[in-house]
């Protein structure tokens, strides 16, 4: 690890001020991702600002009937919160599918959004990586890329040209937050703003070193869940190399509203396939007013994976994702058991 100084702050304004006064400083919350990356010399902050004592550790009701998750609430306290279990069971289940009990006791909700990719080359400072060192190249495209992205890798809007980065965002929690259409509240030296979840993470394009739309120095203060929580028809299906304590190869969060057999609202978000949780409005729209059948699910799955591109080791993810979508939709619509 590189040498750094450490400070602990107790209020948001001081934290934001301290952070902005030293460009190369970083906030530290649970530390489960940052310390890991510092040990590998991937992250080399000159100062750590400990934000775990900020008063952002509670879960409260919002004025518009939703729920506000303080950025420093742990993943465990969120997943086991009575309100979250009752009103947003998809979120609870999704968090519990990630990491381990020990890690969930440390990891915070804000930190979970900002965890970095698990691409092996990103972690290995001896190899080129455009995310770690812009312009150095991407080792994964022609290397081991079993865990890498199959969607949204194009370098620009033309969709042509060699991808700059095929990393995935590794979070489970974020897949549920995408489906639930949460909002991220942030504070910086220029004040507060709210970012819709779909706009929070970004595709790599030509600047894969930038994971999200947070301005440098901005602090996440909360994640706000809208009133609609889909407590009845939901599913999170996570496929991985072992039954627990492993990142997703492909995951699917589904939230539905049904009128009898007919789907009236559909949200489908994919994890493990792109630089951000992947949604496609056309695929969701295709299900509205339709009965919950395998054929209709299959059609939505095809649309969601349209344009998917494999890089060799990860090509299996295209078919895997389609099957996972069909199964998760079946589970959410209660056509098949969740086990």
């Amino acid at each position: 690890m590189n040498s750094f100084t450490y400070t602990r702050t107790e209020d948001v304004d001081t934290a934001v001020l301290e952070r902005s006064s030293e460009q190369t400083s970083k906030f530290i919350a649970g530390g489960t991702n940052l310390i890991d990356l510092m040990k590998e010399n991937v992250e080399r902050p000159t100062r750590l600002i400990d934000i775990t004592h900020l008063p952002l550790t509670s879960i409260t009701d919002t004025v518009n009937g939703g729920l506000r998750l303080g950025a420093l609430v742990t993943n465990a306290d969120t997943a086991y919160n009575e309100q979250v279990i009752q009103r947003y069971p998809l979120l609870s289940q999704t968090i519990l599918a990630g990491a381990s009990p020990q890690l969930r006791n440390m990891a915070t909700d804000g930190g979970n959004l900002l965890q970095r990719t698990r691409c092996y080359y990103f972690y290995d400072t001896a190899t080129p990586c455009n995310k770690r060192e812009p312009g150095s190249g991407c080792s994964a495209i022609n290397g081991f890329n079993r865990i890498h992205a199959i969607l949204g890798t194009a370098p620009d809007n033309s969709g042509l040209g060699q991808p700059q980065c095929i990393a995935t965002h590794p979070s489970d929690m974020c897949v549920a937050l995408a489906a639930l259409e949460a909002e991220v509240r942030v504070t910086g030296i220029n004040g507060e703003r709210t970012i819709p979840f779909a706009d929070f993470h970004r595709l790599p394009g030509n600047t894969p070193n930038i994971d999200n739309t947070l301005e440098p120095g901005e602090l996440i203060t909360s994640i706000d869940l809208p009133a609609k929580g889909f407590p009845k028809y939901y599913a999170y299906l996570k496929l991985r190399d072992r039954a627990s304590y492993a990142f997703a190869l492909v995951s699917v969060a589904v939230a539905l509203e049904m009128d009898g057999d007919t789907i009236t609202t559909a949200r489908i978000a994919l994890g493990g396939v792109a630089h951000k949780p992947w949604r496609k409005p056309e695929a969701e729209a295709k299900l509205i007013g339709k009965p919950a059948t395998k054929e209709n699910f299959q059609a939505a799955a095809e649309l969601l994976l349209a344009g998917a591109q494999g890089f060799g080791h990860n090509t299996f993810k295209i078919e895997l994702a389609k099957r996972a979508i069909v199964r998760a939709l079946g589970q959410a619509a209660k056509l098949e058991p969740t086990a």
Binding site: M1, N2, S3, F4, T5, Y6, R8, T24, I28, G30, G31, T32, I35, D36, M38, K39, R44, T46, L48, D50, T52, A76, Y80, A99, S100, P101, Q102, L103, N105, M106, T125, A126, T127, P128, R132, E133, P134, G135, S136, G137, N209, A243, S244, Y245
Partner: protein, 179 residues
């Protein structure tokens, strides 16, 4: 050719001597003042500065659970936490587990006894982490079935594969408590 690691966004910085500071930790009920650098993990503080070597270093990256300790009665991976961040917290390591179980008089914790009875180890390297993790699991109170125990102990890897006996040992204690 590999690009030099020093180029790009990585900052070049001259080497400097470690800046040591005083950190007070409360471990197993005892307060200790340590002179450590801010980058010392809780795991290294326990093992290298306090001679509490019961807590093990397996991977140093949150992937094995050998370093599990309790902070304010919650289980965490001490390899991914900085000692300096735990000032003011109540830390319990495997050395402090015996005699802390409120329902039992001094002596081994029921989980420690149960691990012995069920022969829940081979080499024993993962055992301190397994036991601290199981204490945490009991504090959390979310494990109702054998499947729950397996899932909620998945953060502790046992290279010897003593899982069956580990789960049995924990289940015995949970059943005893429920009875």
């Amino acid at each position: 050719m590999m690009p030099a690691v020093e180029s790009g966004t990585l900052e070049k910085r001259p080497p400097s001597l470690p800046s040591v500071q005083t950190v007070t930790l409360t471990v197993n009920g005892k307060e200790t003042k340590l002179q450590i650098a801010p980058w010392t993990t809780l795991l290294d503080a326990l093992r290298e500065y306090m001679d509490l070597t019961g807590t093990k270093k397996g991977c140093d990256h949150g992937q094995c659970g050998a370093c599990t300790v309790l902070v304010n009665d919650k289980r965490i991976n001490s390899c991914l936490s900085l000692a300096i961040m735990q000032e003011g917290a109540k830390i319990t390591t495997i050395e402090g587990i015996a005699g802390t179980y409120t329902d039992a008089p001094a002596g081994l914790h029921p989980l420690q006894k149960s691990f012995i009875e069920r022969d829940a180890f081979q080499c024993g390297y993962c055992t301190p982490g397994q036991i601290c993790s199981a204490v945490g699991l009991m504090n959390e109170g979310n494990a109702k079935t054998t499947a729950d125990i397996r899932e909620l102990m998945s953060g502790n890897i046992c290279r010897c594969g003593a899982y069956t006996n580990i789960v049995d040992a924990i289940e015995d204690v949970l059943n005893e408590k429920a009875a």
